[in-house]
């Protein structure tokens, strides 16, 4: 496999990691909006809206970039996945549409509680459904349930993503996003009480992630043999798991001792390693067992130009992103 192909494959994986860490946390914010309760219910929702407001569209762009890199760099895989996962991807897109529009309408059309709450419900329900579907799609891709003959998908439009393994990955994804959001919000919270609210949520969801991950792992033995062996046998994957476990325990300990800033980093590391772990366990396959990075790859000249475009993009985007997050980072928040 050429270096270009490897770098492009890494770039696709990288954008999905970033989408999970940033866009995923925005979805998680929607989950906590739905589950807001207690004496500070309204403040919790206000904190979530304030934290997401300036950045959600930027965070969402990682998905688009990943998608574009996939269809430009690995067009055959994009085509096959679009056919095999037509149904859940269509539903996912609907979730994304309602999440984004409901959030915007709520933010710009404040007319008292009833209407605002109604948009809030649309926003938070879409925020629960979309990660579930996203995870189910990932589960389907990682399993060997998508079958092809030549360029045609022959495994039907439902079975692959409705398997127990795919469902377990869906629930794990939802849990991970909710966990990330809760941890991030502990650091964003302007008051001690609000930080405590989200600390409790972070500890509970973080704790839940262990059995969820274990369930997905056990189900992968039947449902995704490639992942099972990939996860348990390749030394690199094992190292990644070790790293994930260390990050998870560290995040837990830091949350426990209320070092929220560092907990945020540890949780993001944990989330990133989980997504990367999936990518590595599946590599070099894009659609197991039919399409590898190499067999789905665009022609070399295309790959090279895509890498140039990627480099240009990074030069433009990274400083702008740093600026954005500096302006709206936790320390940039006015304490009310």
């Amino acid at each position: 496999m050429s270096t270009e192909t490897q770098v492009l494959g890494l770039a696709v994986a990288g954008t999905f990691v970033l989408y999970a860490l940033l866009g995923g946390a925005d979805f998680g914010g929607g989950v906590w909006d739905l589950l807001a309760r207690g004496p500070r219910k309204a403040e919790q929702r206000a904190l979530i809206a304030r934290a997401i407001g300036p950045v959600w569209e930027v965070n969402h762009v990682w998905l688009i970039v990943g998608l574009v890199l996939l269809f430009s760099g690995f067009p055959r895989a994009f085509a096959a996945l679009s056919v095999a996962l037509h149904v859940p991807l269509t539903l996912l897109v609907l979730g994304i549409v309602f999440r984004g529009t409901a959030f915007t309408f709520r933010a710009y059309d404040t007319r008292g509680d009833v209407v605002e709450r109604r948009w809030g419900v649309v926003f938070s329900v879409a925020s629960v459904v979309a990660p579930l579907l996203l995870g189910m799609c990932v589960g389907a891709v990682a399993s060997d349930a998508i079958r092809m003959q030549g360029h045609a998908v022959v495994s039907g439009f439902f079975a692959s993503w409705l398997s127990p393994f795919a469902l377990s990955v869906g629930v794990l994804t939802l849990g991970l996003f909710a966990f990330l959001a809760a941890v991030y919000l502990t650091h964003e919270a302007p008051t001690r009480e609000l930080a405590e609210d989200f600390r409790r949520r972070a500890l509970v969801t973080g704790g839940l992630l262990f059995p969820l991950a274990l369930a997905a792992l056990l189900l992968s033995r039947e449902g995704a043999p490639r992942v099972w062996t990939g996860l348990l046998q390749t030394p690199f994957a094992l190292a990644l798991h070790g790293g994930t476990a260390v990050a998870a325990v560290t995040a837990f300990a830091l949350l426990w001792t209320r070092r929220f800033r560092a907990a945020r980093v540890a949780a993001a590391t944990q989330g990133g390693l989980i997504v990367l772990g999936w990518a590595v366990s599946q590599a070099p396959y894009l659609v197991y067992p039919h399409l590898t990075l190499q067999s789905a790859a665009a022609q070399p000249v295309v790959q090279r130009l895509l890498l140039v475009a990627l480099a240009v993009g990074l030069v433009l985007v990274v400083p702008s992103l740093v600026l954005l997050f500096r302006v709206f980072g936790p320390r940039g928040q006015p304490t009310t």
Binding site: P54, F71, H86, I96, A298, A309
Partner: protein, 448 residues
């Protein structure tokens, strides 16, 4: 309806919906920055309020544009996997660059919208400019993809797919300069006309309302300039189509029979069976002049081409007539307005003019949609002209009626909601309105 037709209808509907928001996303930031600049120069608080209102409009429309654009990028695969599987690599470069532009647009829009109180005035203005530039770049790159589909280049077609791919050649397919200029202008024109229409409407109800007169003074220059430039660019574009896509030109003009010194048909309904056009007014030699700048030039008719590569002639012809008709009306109104501006030394806001601008308000969007239909219908039955048929690109997934009706319902709902939300933004500026939050702090919910 067949699944192919449902797929085309869903893609068409998604694009028709997205285009409105994309156009606003390109143009509103320019208007927003212009009124911001006017505020800085004059110190007039109304311009600042206008710029804030436009920023909120941009935020709402951009959000809907971003999600409907996301739908489109998924739909490329969900509906046309064969097209993307084969040509994704050929046209991936402009899509990737569009991704970069989308990124900077979203970043700086976040800073502009939420950062007024947090960043320096210079950086704030710079962010607005970046939003405007990124929006234009985004539209530019996406239009390059469409140019490729109309005039594919940069690869060698083989039964197994494209070989010898040259992405840069494909990115700048023949005619790119005309199509991108035409599209970008139409975005500014449609948005400026819509904005002018809204404020004209309010000035009719509340004559002399200062805020709305100022808003007009921001919208009208852009509307007039674009309305006058557009016919020139459109003409260059038509000449290019005449050279490169003669069958599309013939369908646009419902020109069945090859002839020299061909007349231009205005109006009329084409009858494909009898190969005649009923009820059209003929302008002698008009088509030859329009297509080749030569009154005696020979213009190829549809009869020169096999029947199975004809686009849907009546649809293409009607859409073209609508585009040219609305474009001409807008150009005339622009001329009349500039004349009055020159005579009266200020932008006109009399009753007659305001009525005209009110009725012209939607014309830019009508022309934009019609023009897009001309190019899309006019390319049929090809998805990549002369290389891949639309029917060969469609997904094998059955029951496409279900997503089609779902998305139709969703777009209807979103469209109505956006109109409603935007109207409430405008209502906050009416004389005597008592909406809180319309003041200088911008009133962005949840920030405070």
């Amino acid at each position: 309806m067949t699944d192919l037709l449902y797929a085309r209808a869903q893609m068409g509907l998604s694009l028709a919906f997205h285009i409105v928001f994309a156009a606003a996303g390109v143009a509103l930031p320019v208007l927003m920055v212009l009124s911001d600049l006017k505020h800085r120069r004059t110190g007039d608080a109304d311009y600042r309020k206008l710029s804030e209102k436009l920023a909120k409009g941009t935020a709402i429309l951009f959000a809907v544009g971003a999600v409907s654009g996301t739908v489109l990028s998924f739909e490329l695969g969900l509906l046309w996997p064969e097209f993307m599987g084969r040509y994704g690599e050929v046209i991936g470069l402009p899509f990737s660059l569009e991704g970069v532009a989308f990124f900077t647009e979203a970043i700086f829009l976040g800073i502009y919208l939420y950062g007024r109180e947090r960043v320096s005035p210079g950086l704030h203005l710079f962010s607005g400019v970046m939003v405007a530039v990124s929006g234009a770049a985004s539209a530019f790159f996406v239009t390059l993809v469409n140019t490729f589909m109309n005039n594919p280049s940069g690869f060698t077609p083989t039964p197994a797919g494209p070989t010898d791919v040259q992405p840069l050649v494909a990115m700048f397919s023949p005619g790119w300069q005309y199509q991108t200029a035409h599209v970008l202008l139409s975005c500014y024109q449609a948005s400026a006309f819509a904005m002018a229409g809204i404020h004209a409407f309010i000035l009719l109800k509340h004559p002399g309302a200062a805020f709305h007169k100022k808003a007009l003074s921001v919208a009208l220059p852009l509307a007039c300039v674009t309305a006058l430039l557009q016919p020139l660019v459109g003409d260059l574009s038509a000449k290019h189509v005449a050279r490169e896509q003669p069958v599309k030109l013939a369908a646009m003009e419902a020109h069945f029979h090859t002839e020299a010194g061909a007349p231009l048909k205005v109006g009329g309904w084409p009858d494909v069976e009898t190969r005649t056009v009923k009820g059209a007014i003929d302008l002698p030699k008009g088509l030859s002049i329009l297509a080749f700048a030569d009154p005696d030039a020979e213009v190829k008719g549809l009869e020169e081409f096999p029947r199975d590569v004809w686009p849907p002639v009546p649809k293409v012809h009607m859409a073209f007539q609508v585009m040219v008709g609305t474009g001409s009306l807008m150009a005339l109104l622009a001329l009349a307005t500039l004349w009055r501006r020159w005579r009266g030394r200020e932008w006109p806001h009399g009753k007659g003019m305001m009525r005209a601008w009110l009725w012209a308000g939607p014309l830019g969007l009508v022309a934009l949609e019609a023009g897009w239909l001309v190019t899309e219908w006019g390319r049929q039955p090809w998805i990549v002209r002369d290389v891949m048929r639309t029917s060969a690109a469609v997904t094998p997934v059955p029951h496409l009626a279900a997503p089609f009706f779902t998305f139709t319902a969703v777009y209807l709902f979103l469209g109505v909601t956006v109109l409603f939300v935007l109207w409430r933004q405008v209502a906050g500026t009416l004389p005597g309105s008592k909406t809180p939050g319309a003041g200088v702090d911008g009133g962005v919910a949840h920030v405070h």
